[in-house]
């Protein structure tokens, strides 16, 4: 039976590859004939701003924006950005969190405080018990490119068997949407993420 509605909110900082993940998921959905809507605002990516992509699968998803409290999954490439976008997540929804922080300029200049990562993760528990933390940036750095952290997280998500798309199509979509020279490395990053929950 085709999924009628499945929503993923992806939060991160400009440059972390939030919109690439959305494109990969969106292209995979179309390949499998699954209706998809992606809601984004382009512009903050370059300048280290806050970025969020809404990916909505299924024929019951009309609007490009996930209504508050209806995201099945919140993928956080950066901890404070996941907190900033928590309103999208449904009660007891799934949070997959890269335990990595990028200080905004407001914190660097002393105007604001960045709470400890553990404090933020604990706060998520107000809404949900399903929190999976991943050292995606460390894994990516070990692989040789910090920008792979988004694909690592995608692998973790895929490994949980909640996505309404097949792993095969997803892998093909990654292959087709990353630069030629980076293909193998991306597939490696995906595999490591996938195996984290499926050893």
């Amino acid at each position: 039976m085709k999924t009628t509605e499945f929503n993923i909110a992806i939060a991160g900082v400009g440059g972390q590859g939030v919109t690439l993940l959305a494109r990969i998921l969106g292209n995979a959905a179309i390949k499998e004939g699954l209706s998809v809507r992606i809601g984004e605002v382009y512009g903050a990516s370059q300048r280290g701003g806050s970025v969020v992509s809404h990916i909505r699968f299924g024929e019951n998803a009309f609007s490009p924006i996930i209504p508050n409290g209806r995201a099945d999954v919140l993928l956080g490439l950066e901890v404070s950005e996941a907190a900033r976008r928590i309103r999208a997540l449904k009660p007891n929804g799934l949070v997959i969190l890269n335990v990595y922080k990028i200080d905004p300029v407001e914190v660097k200049t002393g105007l604001s405080e960045y709470p400890s990562i553990s404090r933020l993760v604990n706060a998520f528990k107000l809404i949900t018990d399903q929190i999976i933390t991943v050292n995606a940036t460390d894994i990516a750095t070990d692989l040789g490119d910090v920008r792979l952290s988004n694909i690592v997280l995608l692998g973790v998500l895929a490994g949980l068997s909640v996505l309404p798309i097949s792993i095969k199509t997803l892998r093909q979509s990654i292959w087709g949407n990353v630069p030629l020279a980076m293909r193998n490395l991306n597939m490696k990053a995906f595999k490591i993420g996938f195996n984290l929950r499926n050893p």
């Binding site: 605002v41 900033r84 928590i86 449904k90 905004p104 809404i127």
Partner: protein, 641 residues
């Protein structure tokens, strides 16, 4: 993955609204494309420029939106199919020509694609293009999905050519940037042949001609109503007990459908989606109003449909069943900002006097998590020359003894607009493109001895800065004008401007030097400086402040340094390494001048050892922080070889 120009009708692809418009234009056989970059319309112009050669289309970034419409108008008068691309405020600039070309009309189709930033999320205002379409009496189409956006372009060209009238295709940000599945159509390879038939009774729009053309325009619009009635993109759904109905247009249709679905009302609430929002299909609307008692009108940004539909039902009150029209005027929808599902659910709740829950009632818990996230506004990229310029500017003003409230910096639109939110905190005003100069002149006039600096980018200078500078010279105002020349239109994604040699379609051109233009205006003080040299920049600004104070004439400083991102890309391409700087912990005294008063993205503060540090992966090697450091603690890393 797909190629925008591929000939695969029937193929399903993931496409953003703006790209779908570009594809639609290609399928419609567009021949001339003009426009100006502006979020949320930019992608359409860029996408078409990439396939211009292959598709045999002329694509340019025009100096500004007025010129863009003028060029497209002449092309369309000469029988070619032309498309203009802009964001909502671009129409303000183009309105002068748009409100006269409507009178003469065109021969080849002329479609103006305007993407309204609703919110606004990234603009200086939110305005409703559909009101302009009524001022100008230009047909206006509103797609609701990327698929419709693509299909409506072809339809728009047909209407335009049938009635010889420019047509507006109106989108909103969330539609322009939304991606969904789009089925490609066939590409029309036939092209209109250029031909200009002289007709001064048409194209010489003087008063007596305007009078008769204005009357003719209204007759045209009346005829187009018939097309509005049978527009294939309108949707009418009468449901349930015929109690409550919603009339909507554009992206709001998706919000309406989603809300009704989640509230379980899709079988009880009737829906009318209008795709032709000017002229309105009165017959279709009346049919709807004859089948509902109460109507809620959901649209963005202004109550355009709402006001007209009220008038329609008033004029036909004997024929319709509807007794009340709800919307913004009735207080059911907000007057500013985007519409969302909660607004619609609350409005339906209020109207039907029932409880409707869209989201779980745990708002407070969400709020407790959200507030932990520190603010993250847009920031200057590491190595941005603008940040360096503003730092030097502040230093210059302070060195001359001025305090914060004793100077005025009139800013403009571009990346430098981030300055007030950065560590350097400069810039007091920002209005519309090019306004920095005019405002600076006005401040100087009003405040006399207060130092006034206008800050404008290179693209903005060409767009609409020159007129202001002519005024500053000819109507003599002693303002300092700083043209921040980073050789690109960066904010919208690095499109070219007349100061660079490669156009958007890849062809070469002779760049127009800003210094030459200013020299031509007779301005005597023109200095070009590299903002990466902080002391030199500061000294030149001081020199300029003294000059304008003595002479009461404008002084121009051009801070010229390529955008850091472009520089980074070039270096990556050529394999050139960036030598990052680093903080010598032994020399750093922890004064925090670098992080608190400069605040480059690459700089950080280590709380534990109380010293500054530089992220070598982010550092662009611009050297500015090393010049700022009072203890000379920031040094360049030795080249590792």
């Amino acid at each position: 993955m797909y190629n925008l120009y591929e000939d695969s009708p029937g193929k399903k692809t993931l496409m953003m609204g703006n790209i779908a418009v570009a594809r639609g234009a290609i399928e419609a056989g567009v021949q001339v494309v003009t426009g100006y970059p502006g979020t949320p319309a930019t992608e359409t112009l860029e996408a078409l420029s990439k396939v211009a050669g292959k598709a045999g289309i002329y694509v340019e970034v025009s100096t500004n939106e007025k010129v863009a419409v003028e060029i497209a108008s002449a092309a369309a008068i000469s029988n070619l199919r032309a498309l203009v691309i802009m964001k909502q405020v671009g129409l303000n600039v183009a309105s002068d020509i748009a409100n006269v070309i409507n009178l003469s009309g065109c021969n080849g189709g002329l479609v103006i694609y305007i993407a309204d930033d609703v919110g606004p999320l990234v603009s200086q205002n939110e305005q409703d293009t559909r009101i302009y379409s009524r001022l100008m009496h230009l047909p206006c189409l509103e797609p609701s999905t990327p698929q419709e956006a693509k299909d409506m372009i072809k339809y728009a060209f047909e209407i335009s050519e049938n009635y010889k009238i420019p047509v507006i295709l109106r989108s909103t940000l969330r539609l322009s940037h939304m991606s969904s599945s789009v089925t490609l159509g066939k590409i029309n390879i036939s092209r209109n042949k250029p031909n200009f038939v002289k007709d001064i009774n048409r194209y010489l729009v003087l008063d007596f001609i305007a009078r008769s053309e204005h009357e003719a325009l209204h007759k045209k619009i009346n005829k187009i109503k018939a097309d509005a009635e049978k527009n294939p993109f309108n949707i009418l759904k009468i449901k349930g007990e015929k109690n409550l109905g919603i009339i909507t247009s554009g992206l709001c249709y998706l919000y309406v459908e989603e809300t009704l679905k989640h509230c379980g009302l899709q079988d009880q609430v009737s829906v009318l989606k209008l795709s032709f929002s000017y002229p309105l299909p009165t017959g279709l609307i009346l049919k709807f109003l004859q089948n509902v008692k109460y109507v809620l009108i959901v649209e963005e940004v202004e109550p355009v449909l709402e006001n007209e539909i009220k008038a329609i039902s008033f004029d036909n009150n004997k024929k319709v069943m509807v007794s009340k029209v709800f919307g913004r005027n009735s207080g059911h929808l907000p007057w500013a900002g985007e519409i969302n599902l909660i607004h619609i659910a609350k409005a339906l709740s209020k109207i039907s006097n029932t409880e409707l829950h869209l989201t779980p009632d745990i708002y407070q818990k969400y709020g407790e998590i959200e507030k932990l996230a520190p603010p993250r506004y847009l920031s200057f990229c590491a190595g941005c020359p603008h940040l360096a310029t503003f730092y030097a500017m502040r230093k210059a003003l302070m060195q001359q003894g001025y305090k914060e409230n004793e100077w005025v910096v009139a800013g403009d639109i571009g990346c430098y607009g981030i300055a007030p939110f950065s560590a350097v905190k400069m810039m007091d005003t920002s209005f519309c493109m090019g306004s920095s100069i005019g405002l600076a002149c006005g401040f100087k006039l009003a405040l006399k001895d207060t130092p006034v600096i206008a800050v404008i980018g290179d693209s903005t200078f060409y767009h609409s800065g020159i007129s202001g500078i002519v005024n500053a010279m000819w109507n003599t105002k002693g303002i300092v004008i700083v043209v921040m020349d980073n050789k690109t239109t960066a904010m919208t994604g690095h499109q070219p401007n007349p100061g660079v040699s490669i156009r958007i379609d890849g062809s070469e051109s002779k760049p127009i030097d800003i210094a030459d233009v200013i020299k031509g205006l007779g301005i005597k003080f023109i200095e070009i400086v590299d903002p990466y040299n902080v002391k030199k920049t500061k000294d030149i600004i001081i020199k300029a402040l003294k000059y304008v104070s003595e002479r009461s004439e404008p002084a121009v400083i051009i801070t010229r340094r390529e955008c850091a991102i472009l520089s980074l890309r070039e270096k990556r391409k050529s394999g050139q390494r960036i030598t990052p700087f680093f903080v010598d912990e032994d020399k750093c005294i922890g004064c925090r001048i670098c992080t608190q008063f400069y605040g480059c993205l690459a700089l950080g503060w280590d709380k534990n050892i109380k010293k500054a540090f530089i992220d070598p992966k982010s550092c662009m090697g611009c050297s500015v922080c090393s010049q700022i450091c009072p203890s000379k603690a920031i040094i360049k890393k030795e080249e590792s070889n």
